[in-house]
Every structure is written in structure tokens, then in C-alpha cells.
């Protein structure tokens, strides 16, 4: 978060995407930021432990972080610190855990749980 604040004051005023990657041993959160005057793009990465991952919210720095963080938290089970919990964004009616993590499995019998 400190890096993001520094980059923002260095002119990177536009947040393009927040996403995450599950490497089984650890998780990686990726921020793609952009400078609208010099058209330069940067990638900021944060490494999180596989057990109980959590990261500070970036809403204070970039307003665009709102929906991206909600999506990421829902898809990877990452807890976002410093913001109110909200309903699930994409799986509002039947959240199934953290589907984009590599250990997530989905079988025939799982449909009965959500439908």
C-alpha cells in the first residue's frame, strides 16, 4: 500500500486492474497502474501467505479499486482489511468459496448445495 501511494504521487493516477495469482505456496496480488500524462504503465506485486491471506484496501488511493477488490476477495478468499464487508459481487446468490484458487474442485454433487 505504501508503494501504491508513492507511485500515485509519482503520477500514476489510473488503476487499470487488480488481480491475483495462486501459486499454491503463496498468493500474489497484482496491481496494474498507469500514468495518463506520460502513458507509462507499471505493475506492482504483493506476496501473500497461502494461509489466511489478507491485504490492506487500496480504495483510499484509487477509487477504482472498489469492485476489483471485491471480485478478488470473492475469487481468491483474500480478506481486504480496512473496508466494510459487502455482499458478494459476482456470486451473490450462491457463493461457493474461492473458485479461482488452484485447490478448488467442483463435482456433480456440488450443484445440489447451491441450487
Amino acid at each position: 500500500m505504501k508503494t501504491l501511494k508513492e507511485r500515485k504521487s509519482a503520477g500514476y493516477d489510473y488503476l487499470k486492474k487488480i488481480t491475483a495469482v495462486d501459486y499454491a505456496t503463496h498468493l500474489e496480488v497484482v496491481y496494474i497502474i498507469y500514468n495518463t500524462t506520460t502513458h507509462a504503465q507499471e505493475v506492482v506485486k504483493a506476496k501473500l501467505p497461502a494461509e489466511r491471506p489478507s491485504i490492506d484496501t487500496a480504495i483510499g488511493v484509487y477509487r477504482a479499486a472498489d469492485w476489483y477488490e471485491r471480485e478478488m476477495s470473492e475469487m481468491f478468499g483474500i480478506r481486504i482489511k480496512g473496508r466494510a464487508a459487502k455482499r458478494l459481487l459476482l456470486e451473490e446468490w450462491n457463493g461457493v468459496g474461492a473458485p479461482l484458487k488452484k485447490d478448488f474442485t467442483w463435482g456433480k454433487e456440488d450443484y445440489d448445495k447451491v441450487l
Binding site: T36, A64, W67, L89, L100
Partner: protein, 365 residues
């Protein structure tokens, strides 16, 4: 003062797909809008991790069914970059031509439905669809499919183009330009359309950047930002065109920006047709079920889609992506809707929503 909740959706004629808006109104004034999305969520990113590279092509095409070629191109470019495959020169020109035709077709569909929602009943709609049908016919003769093309292959195309393609494409650009230049008579001089869109859903320059919106929505707020200009791909660097921008950031400016973009696209198509070599190889690598082995690097590719900037962040693995993340421009454009709609009249919600040009299939992924 009583606050009333109104549920809009999940099906409304001005949305492509399924969207629910929960609107708090005080009398006729909107106090709060909460978009509920995810009705079309089918886990495309997860599905793509389980399929071979070229099997995934059909998933990316179906994300945005109004401009499938643009998403197809974005994905194929990401794979090309991962495998280090260069696109053949003639194929680069042809891709630019087809992508720009696709952009015009997408904007025409938007313009027709948007005008239909806002007081220019059916004439504009029929006109826009008449022009769009001609574009789709040309695309069909090139690729074999009317809506979904699947004719991009790594480094080129699936098949050669028809012999009379160049002549027909020139004729089509002349036809389109003639027709499109006639549209403002129906819209810019239509008091109902003007009244419904001018000064509605204003997004200032700073909040447009803050919200991270892209494409025509960002440009209508006065930010000159277009991936085709800032980091040119294919032969866009050689093309002369301007990036239209708006001033007020309202629904009318978004219409003007898309309208000007159509004319600029025609300009680009003509230059690309002039520059395209008469002969040369177009064909790309054939699909093999066991794909080629990729170098395990991170791939970031961005392309200017009709709805805004699309981006793919991909960690390639040997034969399929280890992780693929899609930036959907409609997703983040919709996130800015609450700010635009608050304080407006309830009836203005639809010009605002329509001016964002969202496609729910792409948004929910």
C-alpha cells in the same frame, strides 16, 4: 420525504443481458443506485485454465457478442506474445481493417438502441441495423460466420480472403460514410434526444480517471486516451486518425465521441486498404490440440475494444494458461454508474446506463 426502493431489472430492454439495479428514490430524484451483477457469471477465467490455448478462443469470442472479433484478437495476441510469434505483415493490415469494421458495427448497434431509448423511435434503429448488416455480410464472406468468426490463427488468419474483398471493402466504406454523415439530422437536431441526453450523467475528468473508466466514456470526459495511439499495435502507428474527445462528460458527449469514432474508423480502414499488400501470405498456424510450448513469462496485452480498454494478464504454462485474468471495460464502466446517476431524475437513469454501452456477457465473465 420518503425514500422508496425501486427494483429495475433483471431484464430491461436497454441492457444487453441480465442486470438488476436497486434504486432508492426520493420522489423522482435518485438517491442511490446499487448495481447487482453476476447473473451471467460462468467462470470463464477458471474454464480457460483447463483448456488448451486455441480451444479457449471460442470462450473469448463469446464474452462480447457484439464485437467478438475484438476480444478474439486480444486473446490471440496474448497467446502470440507468450509464444513469441510475429504476425505476418499482410495479416496485420487485414486485422486492422476487420477490427475497425467490427468497431463500427458495434457502435452502430449501440447507436440504434440508444436512440431508440431516447426519443428517436425506430428510424435510427432501422438505419443503424441496415448499415450493420452490410458490415456483417462482408465479415461473413471473409470468415464464414456472421456473428462469431473464429478466423484468427496464431500469426495470421484461418483462410484467404475473397478476391473481390478490396473492391467491396472500398465500396462499403463509401456507403458507410455517406449514411453515417446523415445521422446527425436525426439526432443532433432532435429536441427530444437533445433534452434527454444533454447535461445528463456527468462524469468529470478527475472522477473519470479516479473511477478507472475507459474507452468512449473516458474520452467523453476530456481525457485523450486511446491504446491505438498511446501504445500502437499492428500497423496503427502508420495510420493517421484523431482521438475524438468530449468536453462535458455527459451522455450526449458519449454519443458524439462514438459517432466521431465511427468516421475515424472508416478513415483508418481506407488507409489500411491502401497500404495492404496485394499478395502475400495470410495463413496462420493451424490449430493443434496439443499446443506449442510457451515460455513461462508474464504476458500483459492491451487492446482498444469498442467499449474501452481490454487487457489480458496471463501467466502461461506449457499447453494452457496457468492463470488468465481479463480486464473487462464494461465492468469498471458500470462501477461508475452510481456516481453518475445520483441526484438525477429517475427517467434519466436509462440514458445514463445506455450511454455506458455495457455488455453483460463480458462484464460478468
Amino acid at each position: 420525504m420518503t425514500i422508496m426502493d425501486i427494483n429495475v431489472g433483471t431484464v430491461h430492454p436497454s441492457t444487453h443481458g441480465v442486470l438488476r439495479l436497486l434504486v432508492d428514490v426520493d420522489g423522482d430524484t435518485i438517491k442511490k443506485v446499487e448495481p447487482h451483477i453476476g447473473f451471467l457469471h460462468r467462470g470463464v477465467e477458471k474454464l480457460m485454465e483447463t483448456r488448451m490455448y486455441m480451444q479457449n478462443q471460442s470462450y473469448t469470442e463469446k464474452l462480447d457478442y457484439v464485437a467478438p472479433l475484438c476480444w478474439d484478437d486480444l486473446y490471440v495476441s496474448a497467446v502470440e506474445q507468450a509464444l513469441g510469434i510475429a504476425v505476418k505483415e499482410r495479416a496485420q493490415y487485414l486485422r486492422v481493417i476487420l477490427l475497425e469494421f467490427q468497431r463500427v458495427a458495434s457502435h452502430l448497434l449501440w447507436l440504434g438502441t440508444f436512440a431508440n431509448d431516447n426519443g428517436q423511435f425506430f428510424t435510427m434503429y432501422m438505419w443503424a441495423f441496415r448499415e450493420r448488416a452490410k458490415i456483417l455480410k462482408l465479415m461473413q464472406d471473409v470468415s464464414g460466420g456472421r456473428m462469431f468468426y473464429l478466423n484468427l490463427r496464431l500469426g495470421g488468419f484461418k483462410s484467404n480472403i475473397p478476391e473481390d474483398f478490396r473492391r467491396r471493402a472500398y465500396e462499403l466504406t463509401d456507403y458507410l460514410e455517406e449514411k453515417i454523415l446523415g445521422y446527425p439530422d436525426l439526432l443532433d437536431e432532435n429536441p427530444v434526444f437533445m433534452e434527454r441526453t444533454k447535461g445528463v450523467g456527468i462524469l468529470t475528468q478527475s472522477s473519470a480517471i479516479g473511477h478507472g473508466v475507459s474507452g468512449p466514456v473516458l474520452r467523453a470526459s476530456g481525457v485523450e486516451e486511446d491504446t491505438r495511439k498511446t501504445s500502437p499495435y499492428y500497423v496503427y502507428g502508420k495510420m493517421k486518425f484523431v482521438v475524438p474527445t468530449g468536453f462535458h462528460g455527459d451522455a450526449f458527449d458519449r454519443y458524439r465521441v462514438r459517432y466521431e469514432e465511427m468516421l475515424q474508423s472508416i478513415r483508418v480502414i481506407r488507409q489500411a486498404l491502401d497500404g495492404m499488400p496485394e499478395t502475400g501470405d495470410l495463413l496462420g498456424l493451424p490449430i493443434k490440440l496439443i499446443g506449442p510450448v510457451a515460455k513461462p513469462d508474464t504476458v500483459i496485452v492491451q487492446r482498444e475494444l469498442p467499449r474501452g480498454e481490454g487487457l489480458i494478464y496471463m501467466i502461461p504454462d506449457k499447453q494452457k494458461p496457468y492463470r488468465i485474468s481479463l480486464r473487462s471495460p464494461a465492468f469498471i464502466n458500470l462501477a461508475a454508474l452510481p456516481e453518475m446517476a445520483e441526484g438525477q431524475k429517475f427517467a434519466d437513469l436509462f440514458p445514463i446506463l445506455g450511454s455506458l454501452d455495457i455488455i453483460l456477457g463480458e462484464l460478468d465473465r
